[in-house]
Amino acid sequence: MADQTLPIPGALGVGRSRGAALLEWLHTWVITVDHKKLGILYIVYALFFLLVAGSEAMAIRIQLAIPNNHLLSPELYNEFFTMHGTTMVFLVGMTLIFGFGNYLVPLMIGARDMAFPRLNAFSFWMSAFGGLLLYFSFIGGFGLYGMGAAPDVTWWAYAPLTERAFSPGHNTDYWAIALIVMGFGTLGAAINTLATAFSMRCRGMTLLRMPLFVWLMVVASADTLIVITPLTAAQVMLIIDRYLGGHFFDTQAGGSATVWMHFFWIFGHPEVYVLILPAFGIASEVIPVFSRKAIFGYPAMVAASVGIAFVSLSVWAHHMFTIGMTSASNAFFALSTMMVGIPTGIKIFNWVATMWGGKIRFATPMLFCTAFLFQFLCAGLTGIMLAVAPWDWQLHNSYFVVAHFHYTLTGSFVFCFFAAIYYWYPKITGRMLSETLGKWHFWLFFIGFHMTFDTMHFLGILGMPRSIYTYEPDRGWTTLNMIVSVGGLIQAVAVLILVWNIVDSYMHGRSAGNDPWDAWTLEWSTPSPPPPYNFATEPVVRSRRPLWDIKHPEDPDWKYEL
């Protein structure tokens, strides 16, 4: 389809030194405004920080493997779990969704690029610099006169612990300013995704023919636009408190600690939906293709996604059941939180119905998505338990909560994005990932995940609070903590297998061809990797599965779609 004879930058540089060629190659990545290259930059950046934050998690688990361990000092432990949370949410989660969003949204809607290519590059580099700023705190945290120190106030950073009276030095400033900078990048990416999906669709691609991944990127981007604002506002207020004598959260001067909680969680809770919705999008692409069936109940899936986005904006104070709200507010937020279960339940049922009556092929992407379905079911049910406010008074800030949100963010988000890596790697690189290594990766990660996070539920029930750098030997938590830590190490091995698979298959992988999975969305009609500007001629579609229509002219979708 595409014209491969266009002059490509670098192709004319015959006879120059290797150093110059390398520099030019680097230069093309730095100046690029191409959505596919930016998408790859986002994804590689996210994977790098996945390894960094994963290493922090390993240090945490080694520390907690035995009671009264002195391997990490309390200061270092507090820095590690703060950085682990902040990194995983902002540098891994947000960059992964916008990485895949960047790469796939234009391809899936038959567009040649994002709506605003330069804004796209700006957004990526803002996010990237935000991440560097956050990690620079390890060197510069206490200013120029001493050793550095990373932020150590937890990723929810409750005031007044973040005020200068309790957090002197600059590490909290790095945290606040890095989040502001990354916030700008995220806003740019969200605006761009919305503009692209609404104005760049090819002919015939009505809103209700968009692939579900695009729909979920749209919903997640809309939520992002709403919730990054209060986060940025809160960080600005915090900086004003710290440097300009403000008293927003300064309780010693009459400020309010609970105002910070409201600002943070009206961002923080929808934020987890911002992360999980694109993961739903991935599952909604992978499950039909590997079940060999159209998605069941497409309009219901779209409606449920939009419903989740709306309801997610009214549940934030379920993080605050223990702060002494009135009983009426507690009841309200219990109800609104339980209501999230309805649209998410609809989604799970539709995925299972999609698999029902199919011919399910358990290639690695489908293995990850199947495990996602199971783990997301569990995460939803423990979420219901936490929504029961009185039970939350017991479970809040215990390891039960840690287990619950790792079930959503690892068991669901990360599993879906691993599926995405196996599914779209052939499109991005032109080579297949090794299925053998993929299966090793999946089973090790699956077993390690369940060892770690199933066990954590029990630790929480047995009264172990989160954020503690060590615990007493007589509490009955010792064996369980050892199991959690061993499971963590197994997951680390699995991730290293993935990294090896990505690197090795890039050089030696089997050639993928245009459409290795016999899939149905537009990105599989292009060569792998797709050429610059994707489509030589603009595609025209008549249904949600344009490639199905081409492959089955006798039985096209557009005759039957709801």
Binding site: T258, S291, R292, G324, I360, W391, W393, L395, R466, R475
Partner: protein
């Protein structure tokens, strides 16, 4: 066949949970435990939460079994077979009736869950304080607990004493929760849910333990470097023991002339800036009240046993037990430390 393994594993959490529940019912019968389990409630709020949690567990468990069972069935029944290669399965695009069914049923479940939850929220949170209740003010500090009994004139630290509350003579403890610095959270799982201690935002909670003994807990909201060592001990005493304890705590500190040198050190060195010993000139309010230090089993908010040897290392360098504690190393001579420990050891 690999796919089957998912289905058998999928019952693992449910199985473990059921096992844990049974274990809880059988071996966590009553009274205080070394493991502060929420499955061993020993006070009305904890009991009500426990009953509610069993109800919720039954509903969520039923949903789990049905949906995970469906998923397992689909995986086993509809995986690709070698025999049926070549053609695609029948394409089904959806069904309004089915969608309606799996929307309405969850709505009904939510209604039931919400009404049950709301009832317990109001029952625990809005329970009126009976006149027989004991008032205690809890003040969270980095990284220790201060307990004030306003009607009894007692101030103590880290180890809360309350009387047992029986049906015949109910005497719940109503705690007013304050903070001197940052957010903390009061959590003794066997006695009730946690409530945060937030500066400028007084909170209330109540507990009425029914069996005497020692209940363990700890701070449940990250509060800084030594959050992990902000441990909490609640001693539930029989009425006779509690009265004896109150009488002793209301006395000023023992004044034993044999350890006057140690008292002299305490009053003249920096100790007095932060600690109070009633009956002496030490009136500091930043650290724990030491008037009856030896009536407590632990020092440093539970980080170490209260023995003369531990007291000695604590005074010489608090970082031994609690690196990051706000108490400075006192830089006293060996002789001064000896005198000081002898003096403190008399404060019964």
């Amino acid at each position: 066949m690999k796919v089957r393994r998912i289905s058998s594993l999928s019952y693992l959490p449910a199985f473990c949970l059921a096992l844990a529940c049974m274990g809880a019912i059988t071996c966590f019968a009553q009274g205080p435990q070394a493991t502060p389990s929420i499955l061993a409630p020993a006070s009305t709020p904890a009991h009500e939460i426990y009953s509610l949690s069993k109800f919720v567990l039954v509903i969520t468990g039923a949903i789990f079994v049905i949906v995970a069972g469906l998923l397992a069935f689909v995986i086993i029944r509809f995986h690709e077979r070698k025999t049926d290669a070549g053609h695609e399965p029948a394409q089904v695009y959806g069904s309004t009736h089915v969608e309606l069914a799996w929307t309405v049923i969850p709505v009904l479940i939510v209604v039931v869950l919400f009404l049950t939850t709301a009832r317990i929220i109001f029952a625990i949170q809005d329970a009126p304080e009976p006149p027989s209740a004991l008032d205690v003010t809890v003040v969270g500090h980095q990284f220790w607990w201060e307990f004030r009994y306003p009607r009894l004139g007692i101030v103590t630290a880290n180890e809360l004493h309350i009387p047992v509350s029986t049906t015949a003579a109910p005497q719940p403890a109503y705690l007013e929760l304050l903070s001197a610095d940052v957010d903390h959270s009061f959590w003794v799982p066997q006695l009730g849910g946690k409530t945060d201690l937030i500066p400028n935002h007084p909170n209330k909670m109540w507990i009425d333990p029914q069996s005497p003994g020692l209940y363990l807990g700890q701070c449940a909201q990250f509060c800084g470097v030594e959050h992990a060592k902000m441990l909490l001990r609640v001693y539930v005493d029989t009425p006779r023991l509690f009265d004896a304890w109150v009488k002793n705590q209301q006395q000023p500190a023992v004044d034993n002339p044999a350890v006057a040198a140690g008292r002299q050190v305490f009053e003249s060195e920096a100790c007095a800036n932060c600690h109070t010993i009633r009956g002496t000139s030490a009136r500091g309010l930043f650290g724990p009240d030491l008037t009856h230090l030896m009536s407590r089993a632990t020092i440093a908010s539970g980080a170490a046993d209260n023995t003369p040897a531990n007291l000695r290392s604590w005074i010489e360098d608090p970082n031994t037990f609690k690196p990051g504690s706000l108490m400075p190393a006192m830089q006293l001579s060996d002789q001064q430390v000896d005198e000081l420990v002898s003096y403190l050891s008399t404060l019964r």
